[in-house]
Symmetry: C2
Subunit: 344 residues, 2 copies
DNA sequence: CGTAGAATTGGAAACGTTTCCAAATCGTTC
DNA sequence: GAACGATTTGGAAACGTTTCCAATTCTACG
């Protein structure tokens, strides 16, 4: 049987309470006593039993990360694993455990979430890819569980969140392309139920409005989040009677698909067509040609989410954050439209 | 305060023990009684407190997944997130929680692992990317914690594992390339402390031996696991006095780097040079040209690891598994060597 | 209907902490 | 050195389960 607080107390010749106080911040313990207790702990190899303390405290030092397994985002999206790593690193650094659960968006999501929250299994939850009318948000708000989200949260009062300003991002991209002489820009959008989807389309329209140009509604294709979706959407765009000379894909994985579709048409990105992605996954710098894209600092966002959640758990006020995506210019948009092959 | 087992017992007019038994498999509870108890549970919205049961049972229904954050594999490797998803899905499906922790391979890894294991925080651990003389294996073996690993485990008695037969895989690739008329094949290897690294090099040598050819030691370049490493290694291979006409990269991410480096030299994969990857990440089917690669069923491996671990936790015997990677032929090796531009 | 044996049931004790209150000790000041 | 407040300390009770044993209730059979 493992060594308990009682063994430590006995060995150090003190009471149970004193050992417990030493464990938790050492308030009201004389330095000499504490030293003795700590020595005893070391000597006995004492490890506090988390279950006992969780039970008594009716909470856990555990953060829950909940993601939809089969929603839109493919499992292999580098976005996801970078986020995951940031969460794990920061949670560990802050002395929290990270509990991970997945559920298909369509079925049993709330049940999973309930189990997650029930009995204080976690002290707070992190959501990602928030949706319009997100039932998870509603559920957590009702349950009174502290949570934060990556992606806008609808009743702003429900929880703080980190949101990347996709509107600004796409608008910047559109302006960038217009500045390089493009006139017809295609947009590959995200699944419409994601909060960020509408934003990005809006940014697209803003960019057009700013240039006093009229949006060709056929040049907006809504996709999902996989590479194949990107290819398909690009096919559609290139088959338009008046195909665009530039394409903005709302995620890098979509852009990778676009890259391939363009290539398969015998065209070359950067020479025949411009392409802009969104995310700046590490791979984006390494495609051929390297991809101009809107950078989201995903790892930093992940660590920040953890810090925000912990503050929230501790009852401190936390403000929502909006991050401006930065346009990373690479070769996929290097050539001005006028010099593109096949341009008028 | 939450509703407890005691409230349920009272409401259903039964004793504590009966409710508890109903919760855990309903052994020795009459159907009528159980129905009454379940009704009471539903009515009161009872959720068992996991901390209490963990404390009493001195264990948790929790699986720990431990990964090295900054070892070699980049955070964004799709390999990793696919694995992660498989673990999460299967653990959830089996009624287990998944606890995730990361630590840099060089510092504090064992301390993290200890905290992980201490006090029964997890009932078993899953490791990945096992290393030669892996201290984690040693630690877990000594601690008596059930664990399984993705990657060979050295004292085979320590734990069951799933290993992909990299030797066979690379040998197959070499044979495939020889069969297509190649004579000089470069190999981009993995970090040498990984158990799988040596295997793959060995497979390479076997393939050469089988063809009664002599290995050019300069054609073996050890890399890490990032895209840039792949580029760098490819640069080195292409700068050899007698550059290879085909390259095998020991991971798809490395192959992506190779793809770029080759492209930057003005060469084209599939036309001027053949390329084979390892992993078959989803992207591999979508590069240009699509990548011939050795398929590892990562998601299936992940779910299987979970099942194996649970068996192990329950004391059932579990055998190690060796998976044969399957060569997926795509266009990156489509053309026989004789037709390659610049071939003799 | 009685009885043995099996199946079901009730409830006390225990898991290892934290938390509270009362008791003991300390340090100051008169 | 007495008195007093502040600080430190000890330990019982409680957190919500599980698990055991003993007690009770069934079932089947003569």
């Amino acid at each position: 049987m493992a060594v308990t607080i009682r063994d430590v107390a006995e060995k150090a010749g003190v009471g149970l309470g004193t050992v417990s106080r030493t464990l938790n911040g050492a308030a009201h313990v004389r330095a000499a006593t504490r030293a003795r207790i700590e020595a005893a702990m070391r000597e006995l190899g004492f490890q506090p039993n988390p279950h006992a303390s969780n039970l008594k405290r009716a909470t856990a030092t555990t953060i829950g990360f909940f993601f939809s397994s089969s929603h839109h985002r493919p499992l292999s999206d580098p976005f996801f694993s970078t986020l995951m790593s940031g969460l794990a690193d920061e949670a560990t650094a802050q002395g929290y455990d990270l509990l991970v659960a997945s559920a298909p968006a369509d079925g049993g999501e709330l049940e999973k979430l309930e189990r997650f929250v029930a009995g204080g299994r976690v002290s707070g939850v992190i959501l990602t890819d928030t949706r319009i009318n997100d039932t998870r948000v509603e559920f957590l708000r009702k349950a009174g569980t502290p949570f934060v989200a990556f992606g806008r949260v609808k009743p702003a009062s429900a929880a703080p969140c980190i949101d990347v300003d996709g509107r600004l991002g796409v608008e910047t991209a559109v302006k960038h392309l217009f500045a390089r002489g493009h006139t017809a820009i295609g947009l590959i959008g995200l699944p419409e139920d994601l909060t960020c989807a509408a934003d990005r389309v809006e940014g697209y329209r803003l960019g057009y409005a700013h240039a006093r140009r009229k949006v060709d509604e056929h040049a907006i294709v809504m996709g999902c989040l996989t590479e194949s979706d990107g290819s398909r959407a690009t096919e559609a765009l290139l088959s338009l009677p008046k195909p665009p000379t530039a394409i903005i894909a709302c995620s890098d994985v979509l852009a990778l698909g676009a890259l391939r579709a363009i290539h398969q048409r015998g065209l070359e990105v950067g020479r025949d067509l411009a392409l802009v992605g969104f995310d700046d996954i590490p791979l984006a710098a390494h495609t051929s040609p390297p991809l101009t894209t809107l950078h989201q600092p995903i790892y930093a966002i992940a660590t920040d989410l953890v810090r925000m959640l912990i503050k929230r758990i501790n009852g401190e006020p936390v403000a929502r954050k909006v991050i401006k995506p930065e346009l990373i210019e690479r070769e996929s948009t290097a050539r001005p439209a006028g010099s593109l092959r096949g341009s008028p």
